[in-house]
Symmetry: C2
C-alpha cells in the first residue's frame, strides 16, 4: 500500500506544520493575539485549511497544551535520581518555576486559563504516571516523605500536601506572569520569591 501511506504521511506533515507555527506564535504573542489567518499565512495555506486538521482554535490549543504537560513532566527526569527526598522536592520546585519563566504564555494557557471541561473519553495524555504527569511526580515525592517520616506528625494526606505545595509554587509564577507590570507592589526579585516559597514549603512541612 504505497500511495495510501504516503497520503497519510503528507497529511500528518501538514498537521505538524500547523502545530509548529501555532506553537511559536502562541508562545511569543499569546493565544488571543494570534489569529487563524496569521497561522495560515505562516505556513502558506488558506485559513480554512487548518479546519481540515483541527476542529477549531480551541482544539489546536488543547493539542499544544497536552504536549507541554508532557514537556513539563520530562523536566523532572534528571531530578528523579536525586536520592534525598527533601532535596528532590526542592529541586522539583525550582524546575517547575523555571518552566513557567521559560514559557510564560504556555504556562498561562496550561494553568491560569479556565478551559471547558473535556470529555474523559478523548483524553490523550497518560495521567498518574510520574514520568508523564508532573502532579503524579510531585505526589510520589510527598508520599515518600510521609512514609520515611520526613514530614511532621499529622501530615499524611499526600494529595492534600501535594496540592498545597503545587499551589504555592503556582502562586509565585502566576502572580509573576499576571502582575509583573504592576508598579504598585515593590516586587522582590523573582529568584528570591521562588527561593522563599520553596523554603516556606519545606519549613512548613518538615520536622
Amino acid at each position: 500500500m504505497g500511495p495510501r501511506e504516503r497520503r497519510e504521511r503528507e497529511r500528518e506533515e501538514v498537521r505538524t506544520r500547523i502545530l509548529d507555527a501555532a506553537r511559536e506564535l502562541f508562545a511569543n504573542e499569546g493565544f488571543e493575539a494570534v489569529t487563524m489567518r496569521r497561522i495560515a499565512d505562516r505556513i502558506e495555506y488558506s485559513p480554512t485549511a487548518i479546519y481540515f486538521h483541527f476542529r477549531d482554535k480551541e482544539a489546536l490549543l488543547k493539542e499544544l497544551c497536552d504536549h507541554d504537560f508532557g514537556a513539563l513532566a520530562h523536566r523532572f527526569t534528571d531530578i528523579a535520581r536525586i536520592p534525598d527526598t527533601i532535596e528532590r522536592l526542592r529541586q522539583t520546585g525550582y524546575a517547575y518555576a523555571q518552566f513557567g519563566i521559560d514559557y510564560p504564555n504556555h504556562y498561562r494557557l496550561m494553568f491560569m486559563t479556565p478551559h471547558p471541561p473535556i470529555d474523559p473519553a478523548d483524553q490523550e495524555l497518560e495521567r498518574g504516571n510520574p514520568e508523564e504527569d508532573a502532579y503524579a511526580f510531585l505526589k510520589l515525592i510527598v508520599a515518600e516523605a510521609v512514609a520515611t517520616g520526613r514530614f511532621r506528625e499529622g501530615f499524611t494526606d499526600a494529595d492534600l500536601i501535594a496540592q498545597t505545595i503545587w499551589a504555592g509554587m503556582h502562586g509565585v509564577i502566576s502572580l509573576h506572569i499576571a502582575k509583573c507590570n504592576d508598579g504598585w507592589v515593590d516586587w522582590r526579585p523573582l529568584e528570591d520569591r521562588t527561593r522563599s516559597m520553596v523554603g516556606m514549603i519545606i519549613d512548613g512541612f518538615t520536622r
Copy 2:
C-alpha cells in the same frame, strides 16, 4: 448654577448605570463573554453611548477592577481589630480566599489576567494605605510579626515575606478557579486546601 450641576449629575448617573450593568455581566459570565452591545442593551442605550463615558472596553474593566481592589481591602477592616498578630494573619488568609471564591470572575481579572502597564499618572487608587490597599494591610501584619519576634530568625524582609504569603494564598484560589474542572487531579475540598495553605504559611514562618 442649577442646570450645570444637574447635567453633571445626570451624566454621572448614566456612567454608574453602565458600570453596574457591566459589573453584573462580567461577574456572571466573564469579561470576554460579555459584549459592549449586551451591556448597552441592559441599560437601554446604544452601544456607542458607552464610548462617551469610557475610552474602551478595557477602561471599563479597569474602573471595575479598581473598585474591587478597594472592596477586597475593606473586607479586612474587622480583621484589623484582632489583637494577636498571627491570628490576624490567619484570618486575613481566610478572608482573601473567601473573596476569590465569592467573585471568581472578578478575581480572575484582578489577579490572573495580564494587563497592559498603566500610566502611573492616572492611577486612581490610594496605594500604601492599609485601609485601601490589601497588600499594604498584609505587609503591615508581617512587619508587626517581624518586629515582635513572632517569625523565625533571618526572616526580616517584610516585602519578601508578604509576597510569599500572598503567592501562597493566590496559588490556592487561582488554581481552583482555573483548574477546578480538570478531572485528572483528585482535588481535596477547597476548604481543606485553604486551611492547609494557611497552616503551611504559619508553620513555615513562625518560630
